[in-house]
Amino acid sequence: MEPTIEVQSRLTPLLRQIGPGLYELDPSFREDMRVPARIVADEELLRQMSRDRSLIQLVNVTTLPGIQGFAIGMPDMHEGYGFPVGGVAGTLLPDGAISPGGIGFDINCGVRLLSTGLHHEAVKEAVPALAHDLARSIPTGFGRHGRLALSPEQLDRVLDEGVPYVVRVLGLGTGEDLTRIEAGGHLPGADAGKVTVRARERGHDQLGTLGGGNHFIELQRVERIYDTEAAAAFGLFEGQLTILIHTGSRGLGHQVCTDSVREMDRALAREGLRLVDRQLACAPFSSPEGQDYYAAMCAAANFAWSNRQVLTHRVREVFSRRLGPQAEAWPRIIYDVAHNIAKVETYGGQSLCIHRKGATRAFGPGNPELPEAYQQVGQPVFIPGSMGTASFVLAGRSESQAVSFSSACHGAGRQMSRATAKHQVVGAELRKALNAQGIVVECPSNAELAEEAPTAYKDVDRVVDAVDTAGIARKVARLVPLAVLKG
């Protein structure tokens, strides 16, 4: 029988607090643990985690071959399939494991924040029309209208080259855009040849689409500034109109993960190895299966950044159409971060494969990967709340390296199943309630709306405070929605 983790106000000896907002479960908890399980949380969030299987799933992460330091659970951690959502693990290269399940099916699901020079009060009458125009510009579900269909050659170049190709050849962006995206919107390890025909067939007309679930575009206003220096560096001011885009690699990325899990599962079977959960399938990073997956994952990540770039272009088209050519109305990218990805990064002089599944990179000041404008203040980190609630902008701190392999949380984290949410929340009434708060909602399905109700998610203010307390990233701004568009 699986050992249980008891989380009470008096901590059990094996789960102890090691610092402000930081807990660790000792490896002696279970025989196959290679490292401790570290959790970023306050006591209440820890109690919430104990209600589903996320803590045990984090323990499973500690069994990854080659894992270094600790497996980390973020304050928004919740039960996933195999690995928890809201988890981070670093494995030692060249032979440490890479695991598609440690990244997720939606490779490079991530968040992009756009700013404008507009105060929301100056354009509040235009917000419903902006939202409606966006909804008409972006294909949803199986809709065929407005799709950007790529030729096989164009798709190859998107997969291999990412956003630089979308900007320089397809003409959908600016040179400045490239400096404001994690990795410049391009992972050089990509190989389009490692992406299967099936994945290409799914993805060839999906650039510029949101997808369903918790993906969205939100028009927002900056409600509060916490850190004036970082806000000024990011280009944020109180009352400003901003736009947040949350989506990933769509069916192409899902297929890459599906294909890779199947291949690794077969490889493990050939070796006669059996895992506690087959969804934990992994391979040494240096193995053919590991290298094939990494190359395909990088290609899917490039596709996802390209997707958010095309969506940015659509937003710019709509803003230009509705608000005119004024410079203040043209949305600029503040930053774009991935929260389902594997990155090769250096810690303690060692090259590690950092798996982030529902976790965001949070580099501190002085990191050479950051654009010049952000060098003094650190990397922007975006924590979207659930629909109708606040989102946060944070700035990464140098301490995040030692605390969490430079990682922060990615959102509020679910605390209620979709079925329960649908029973407890009536989608049509939620839509009315959001409208009554002044939030415009563009979503084709009331049932989907109910599943994404705020009550289905943890308290984002609490989650963000936990990240701040642990020293990973500091709060910069709080954003609240004016309009929500769902895929």
Binding site: G82, R202, G251, D277, R278, S417, E448
Partner: protein, 139 residues
Amino acid sequence: MEPGAYQFEPHTSEVQIRLEGSSLPELFEEAGYALAEVMLGEELPETPPDVDQEYITLEAADTEALLVDWLNELISRADMRKCVYTHLVVDDLAGGKLRARIRGYTPSVLKTAVKAATFHGLEIREHEDRFTATVVLDV
């Protein structure tokens, strides 16, 4: 739960389905119907859509892997062809091989976009008069 049926079980973030079938082919068909209901958000139409059948042939190392492959085949075809497969017949399932015929249609609203079927917690169990399984879908 009667054989030849499925029901949805609680899961924090994904969709978990419990399946029963009096035979393995029926279990697999029920898995496909459950997937279609998740995608449509409502009961499936009785009448098969008036379209040509598509044929599926799959091979996997074991029956669990074959079930995951079957569901992922339905998911990826749905994404490519922009339709939900509501009428499924598994003609043959033995020795890790499957042959099936499917028909689907394009709904006006796609309620839930399913990313993939997972191996998480999957085990097909044979009982005296039925087969059961639980499978988690990433949505």
